[in-house]
């Protein structure tokens, strides 16, 4: 324990810049997206307290499903066998079905909380924000 303070400072100096360089924008953009939607929806206190846990759960599952597909594609080499192709083809269809089912299930629950009008606003807000993010990404690739 004699040099605990010095070790602590050393750890910050070593790991600080490393993790700062390694971090990505995902968390930042996601927080901003949520704030953007929150602003557009103008939820009341009681709506907000019910809406966000359900909406977070929906997004979490939806992303997990998409990520699962993405990773399956990444795992396969460029030239794949017919069996692998068949497996991916099925997974693609399963994923699309799961996305649709999740949408149906959660949009109904969310509609009960905020009403149909705000569900339309939610869709428009999500779309508007997605466009903003796409512009940033495209700007970099140009």
């Amino acid at each position: 324990m004699k040099h605990a303070g010095k070790i602590l400072i050393l750890l910050v100096l070593i790991f600080g810049p490393v993790v700062l360089l390694a971090q990505n924008d995902k968390e930042k953009i996601e927080a901003l997206r949520v704030a953007f939607i929150n602003k557009k929806l103008e939820l009341s206190t009681s709506e907000s307290e019910k809406f966000w846990p359900v909406y977070n759960e929906y997004n979490e599952k939806l992303r997990a499903v998409k990520k699962n597909l993405r990773q399956s594609y990444k795992r396969k080499p460029d030239i794949i066998s017919d069996a692998d192709a068949e497996e991916l083809f099925k997974l693609e269809a399963q994923t699309k079905q799961a996305e649709l089912d999740l949408y149906k299930q959660y949009s109904e629950r969310l509609k009960q909380i905020v009403g149909v009008k705000k569900m339309v606003i939610l869709h428009l807000a999500e779309e508007e924000f997605r466009q903003k993010v796409l512009e940033i990404v495209k700007g970099k690739s140009d």
Binding site: M1, A4, G5, L8, I9, L11, V12, G16, V19, L20, Q23, N24, D25, K26, E27, K28, I29, E30, A31, L32, R33, V34, T45, S48, E49, K50, F51, W52, P53, V54, N56, E57, N59, E60, K61, R63, A64, V65, K66, K67, N68, R70, L91, Q94, A98, D101, L102, Q105, R109, Q112, I113, R130, V133, L134, I136, V137, K138, G139, K140, S141
Partner: protein, 404 residues
């Protein structure tokens, strides 16, 4: 009417009944499909809402002279023996989520998601009270505890904490002492901007074994500027400048009750191997938290340490069954000084999504305010504008490839 319906049903042919059964099973299958298509993919989500947190911090206060004038004889003798007093301390805490259970409401309550969390907490604390006239003692506190947080899914969050610990002077032969601190709090989120808390705590933070009420008020959202009054722990004004830097103006007690070896014969009446050393001070200052990434934070804080007190209690003169220690053989109130604190917070693992979920934010705040000195590093602070550029790989979870 019912009788007529029954008669009608009796009148139906078996074919009609068979058709009805078939139709209803098709309907039920469709209902179950929403669940099964997702479940069949067998994707894994994070289990917990809390990160595993490891927090290390150091704390220093400069040396001050112990005043010997106008005090009783024994006090003066000990003052002369101790001479000057300074503090060096190191703290290592951790908090690991063990079990998270979730329960969803049905019918009219289908939007309500209750959850309960069981967390394992641990603490290793090393205190070096530096007395110029004494050899250096290292006093430790080691403990492992359990914490249970229950989010009602409506407006309330319950918090239970039990933290047994052992204090010991590790420099010389001394008897270890086992103690228990604990907290029970009910936290009510009236709105995003206002929260109140009520409860009770058994704490040694104020330099004695005290049973105190817990009263809390917060104005402002946890992810924005807020003012928080949490008796007996902390009063603070918290200002997040951006997602990476947060400033707090705060005032909080710091202290504890430790075992001290009588190696230097400070207590002359009995040859007690161990007596109790207690200290408390009120630290008022500024703290800056720097969020380096989603897994690392560090902080620096400093200010004025006032209302300083150190007291030595004999073990024999104080009955353990008493609520708090009364009979002391030495007490001093050193003059105010500055203090410096610095620390590192490591967050491990992935968590469930909890954006704008004010009950989970509140649960994180309750967890953060008890032993884990991470200043709510888990609560995301939204930035004001989008980054000017980013790469696709870092945000592939947020948009589809097909959108290009």
């Amino acid at each position: 009417m019912l009788r007529e319906k029954v008669i009608n049903l009796e009148g139906c042919s078996y074919k009609t009944i068979g058709l009805l059964v078939l139709l209803s099973s098709v309907f039920l299958c469709k209902q179950a499909k929403a669940q099964s298509s997702y479940d069949s993919l067998n994707v894994k989500l994070p289990k917990h809402y809390f990160n595993t947190i490891i927090e290390m911090d150091g704390y220093n206060k400069p040396s001050v002279s112990l005043d010997t004038t106008g005090r009783r004889e024994l006090n003066q003798k000990i003052d002369a023996h101790l001479k000057n007093y300074a503090v060096k301390q190191f703290n290592l805490s951790f908090c690991i989520p063990l079990i998270t259970k979730e329960k969803k409401g049905s019918g009219a309550d289908s939007a309500i998601i209750e959850n309960s969390h069981l967390l394992l907490t641990g603490n290793f604390f090393s205190l070096k009270p530096v007395f110029e006239g004494l050899s250096q003692h290292t006093l430790t506190k080691r403990g492992i505890g359990l914490r249970y947080i229950y989010n009602t899914g409506k407006k309330g969050v319950w918090f239970f904490d039990a933290a047994p610990f052992v204090t010991r002077d590790i420099t010389y032969r001394s008897r270890p002492y086992m103690r228990l601190s604990g907290t029970v709090v009910y936290s009510h989120n009236v709105s995003d901007n206002f929260n109140w808390r009520i409860g009770a705590t058994k704490s040694f933070m104020w330099g004695n074994r005290l049973y105190l009420p817990f009263i809390g008020l917060r104005f402002g959202r946890l992810d924005k500027i807020n003012f928080s009054f949490q008796f007996p722990r902390r009063v603070s004004l918290n200002i997040p400048f951006n997602p990476k830097i947060r400033m707090s103006l705060y005032s909080q007690p710091q202290g504890g009750m430790f075992n001290f070896s009588n190696h230097d014969t400070l207590y002359p009446k009995f040859a007690e191997a161990t007596f109790h050393f207690t200290r408390y001070e009120i630290n008022t200052g500024l703290r800056f938290d720097f969020k380096l990434s989603s897994h690392f934070n560090f902080f620096v804080s400093g200010g004025i340490s006032s209302k300083n007190n150190i007291t030595f209690y004999s073990d024999r003169a104080n009955n353990r069954t008493n609520v708090f220690y009364r009979t002391y053989f030495y007490s001093a109130s050193p003059v105010p000084t500055y203090y410096v604190q610095y620390g590192l917070v490591i967050k491990l693992g992935k968590t469930r999504s909890y954006y704008n979920n004010r009950n989970i934010y509140d649960a994180i705040d309750l967890n953060s305010g008890t032993d884990i000195n991470d200043n709510n590093s888990q609560i995301p602070v939204p930035s004001k504008k989008l980054p000017k550029s980013t790469n696709l790989q870092s945000i592939e979870d947020l948009i589809d490839f097909t959108e290009f």
